[in-house]
Symmetry: C2
Amino acid sequence: MRDVTATDQTAQTPDQVLDDALKALAERSYFSRYPESPSPRVYGENAAPEGLSAYEAHLGKPFEGLAGAFDGSSVGDEVSPYGPTLGVAYPHLDVDAAMQAASTAIPAWRDAGARKRATVLVEALDALNERSFEIGNAVHHTSGQPFVMAFQAGAPQAQDRGLEAVAAAYAEQARVPESVTWEKPGKGEPLRMRKDYRIVPRGVALVVGCNTFPTWNAYPGIFASLATGNAVVVKPHPRAILPLAMTVETLQKTLQDNGFDPQLVQLAPEADGEGLAKTLAERDEVKIIDYTGGPGFGGWLEREGAARGQQVYTEKAGVNTVVVDSTDNLKAMLGNLAFSLSLYTGQMCTTPQNIYLPKGGIDTDEGHVSFEEFGQKLGGAIGRLTGDDEKAVEILGATVNDDVRSRAGSLASIAADAGGSVVADSREVTHPKYPDAVVRTPGLVGVDVAARDAYTTEQFGPVTFLIGTDSTQQSLDTFAETVRRHGAMTASVYSTDEGVLDAARDAAVDAGVALSENLLGQVFVNQTAAFSDYHGTGANPAANSAYSDSAFVAGRFRVITARRHV
Amino acid sequence: MRDVTATDQTAQTPDQVLDDALKALAERSYFSRYPESPSPRVYGENAAPEGLSAYEAHLGKPFEGLAGAFDGSSVGDEVSPYGPTLGVAYPHLDVDAAMQAASTAIPAWRDAGARKRATVLVEALDALNERSFEIGNAVHHTSGQPFVMAFQAGAPQAQDRGLEAVAAAYAEQARVPESVTWEKPGKGEPLRMRKDYRIVPRGVALVVGCNTFPTWNAYPGIFASLATGNAVVVKPHPRAILPLAMTVETLQKTLQDNGFDPQLVQLAPEADGEGLAKTLAERDEVKIIDYTGGPGFGGWLEREGAARGQQVYTEKAGVNTVVVDSTDNLKAMLGNLAFSLSLYTGQMCTTPQNIYLPKGGIDTDEGHVSFEEFGQKLGGAIGRLTGDDEKAVEILGATVNDDVRSRAGSLASIAADAGGSVVADSREVTHPKYPDAVVRTPGLVGVDVAARDAYTTEQFGPVTFLIGTDSTQQSLDTFAETVRRHGAMTASVYSTDEGVLDAARDAAVDAGVALSENLLGQVFVNQTAAFSDYHGTGANPAANSAYSDSAFVAGRFRVITARRHV
């Protein structure tokens, strides 16, 4: 089915793939194993229609083929943000039996060693890549992402992040020798001992998925925990189960094909409001938690997890920031920003929320632009990008929940509360194919830097603040201070002044967030590239971890030494 | 003063030392930079008397020469476990000003880069090595360790652990390139970006020292945090301030000599009961905590630290275990065990507390030995080792606090509570030089495996349980289960049966503790060697960290990327 000649990488053995990935991780330059283009030239002529059919074949039926210890009930009431009901029923775990099964599966996986685990996981990622269109459709209809984005972020880019986690985990484990002879010189005979180092997993790892990026935000944790020998229980968001069900199914099959217990990975779907994540997090067997979601439950997991000796990796919420000082390409800057704000209706954890610029305006290649003019021009750029409903939905996707919809509909009151004004309202777009989808364009609210309460709270969805400051220096100071306190996944700066860029880099270091500078083309602040850009830093309250630095993998395993004289 | 020819290592540059240490860490075989022998042939003829004089010069005086933001008051009421009052008064920090000073000191240290930091810290360790006899005396008179042990564990071995932490931290940072060009192929021109990766510290690191190993247990955290660019505040145990005051003084001098702010390291002595560790832990500036001490406060630090986004490394308490199945050298086994139990009166976090053996006895090269005979013979071995008071104190040292003394004096009631019997009582030894020192030999209490409540609680000090089981299998099962639940820093096994040794290795993996097998000579289960043996594993409740695996260093820094088109 797949056009093998299009990417000669596919002919590699898993060992070769791992070695390439290790090299790429060390170099941090461009690397991707899984092509992000959904073009038929890459994935084959039939890949798209077959993937869609495969997706549709799941609808309105029980999801069968998962291995697991089930309690006989089923859950699942996913409804696409585009309207259709998915109608897939998933078997519900018997938690006691599932924990037992996971624990039983661990020893053989642990004893297989880091390299074997890594190569099996490469196989699983390759197998997931074969299902990219099927999974892309599932992500599209659970997250509401536009299709191309759902395909890219939900399949190949998530797979690359998974491979990165496998490589990072392997690199860390490979530093521990299997066995050494230790010889301590002494007065007489030297003391000689043989020391064997066994890498052991922590236990069962719980991965709590989110609604907006069900695979992309789950793969790093799933693959890092498996690569270090743990068993994984995947608890998807109740409205985004299907992409992770497909993922678990593929992982189970690859594990089984390689002689391992498929129950090393289990799917733990829940009914909306069941609270299964908490139940699972409180299990003694669970030693690692990866969580993407709101700060309330995330903070509870961190606190209680520490008390239970768990390693907890969280990505919560923040206030992503752009500092605009000046530009030599106003049009390109506005275009880049408009796209960043519009993509998936601002429902990315990386979408800018706060744009700081001086109340006195900015210097540009088109002359001085006042604060008000900047707002109008940015609103205009968004309008041009999203003016055609049919094209707009391919960028905006659909709103994922009522919270986002309500926010999109109340810009005037958000502005009023902040003592500001609506600069560009969020427009309702009619989806040409899905009339039930609620599609909105991003809205802009102008406020004064004094309106801290408004812009230091995450406004998830299509709300962006244009924040008028006294100077770029105040913009940078406020940026650093608010991010240090409230967190951020991303930041960017526009300036023609090297001194300002230097100051912005220092502010980003103070804030603990990565910085993109003068993005004018086809790279957007919301996007990070596996093997090169860290997603998150762990250095501010938005996330205590980064995909994938060494801290993201080092806590997932331990080393047990056995020593004896020889 | 130091005999340079005795160790040609001293002629190396800090860069060479770092490279050797990195190689040693990767190989995990024998490596030591700082000679553990206090012999005049190694450290020079005058080193011992000069070190003693240097120590004595501190007594009865204010400790001067520390840089720091002080509040004008002074604290310090250290009394040697051997009797003498130290009478050293230490300046007390002004916490607000100290945090400000630490934060101010960070940027230049951060921007110096990982390699520069590592080599400066090697210099500091070399300078600490020059003070080994002085520090050894200070450890001797605060911990109560016998002098040779205080010298070895308190000075060269602590320095080696410090160097190991520096190497581990550097290795982890060195994996992140400083700058790369990222080039993504596309339809037209490739997308090209320059990406700069800046390693940034977490902030201020708090190191909470303990009474029994003031330097050895503090150096890994101090040096790992400094090596990753953090500032460090060292809060010593109120009864063991002097060794860390000397340490901070030397670090400050080396930092200053290299052009850095000495307040990158500050000493935070407190009066007994002041609760300064809690005050410091609750500061916003504090992002890392290293703690050695009781599980109550340690658990609080873990829980509250997670809520505050701190990285918390703890070593708390556990029940160290020996499983005795059989031996082909009864005499050597008993000698090795007797020494392990006697060294520093069982006041090591690594001293065995629980010895499991079958109620039916064990097979040995001297024939079958019953459970009762084993107890008598082990008691006899302890008696022979500690029978001569003058020699005994050089192994036992002095009891460190009333808690230990009270336990040593109440073996009969401990035995009665556990439904067991005293097999060998703890004997009071008269110190020939220090009549006020309370010196005790280890006591043995025989109990049945059913008496879980007794032996699953840490009995810090000279109390060891001989636990009668139905079989070696039950010994191993109970070992794994109790350690998984209650933690352990060490475990060992004696058996002539390869099958039992294999089963013991599996039990140790289940328990999450390192295993020593059939120790008969001059290696003791309580001792770990830097660069080769991990101290702790992080895999059981006794400690959430290990000196020094990658998890011990990876969480102490973050990476901040700045990217832009080129």
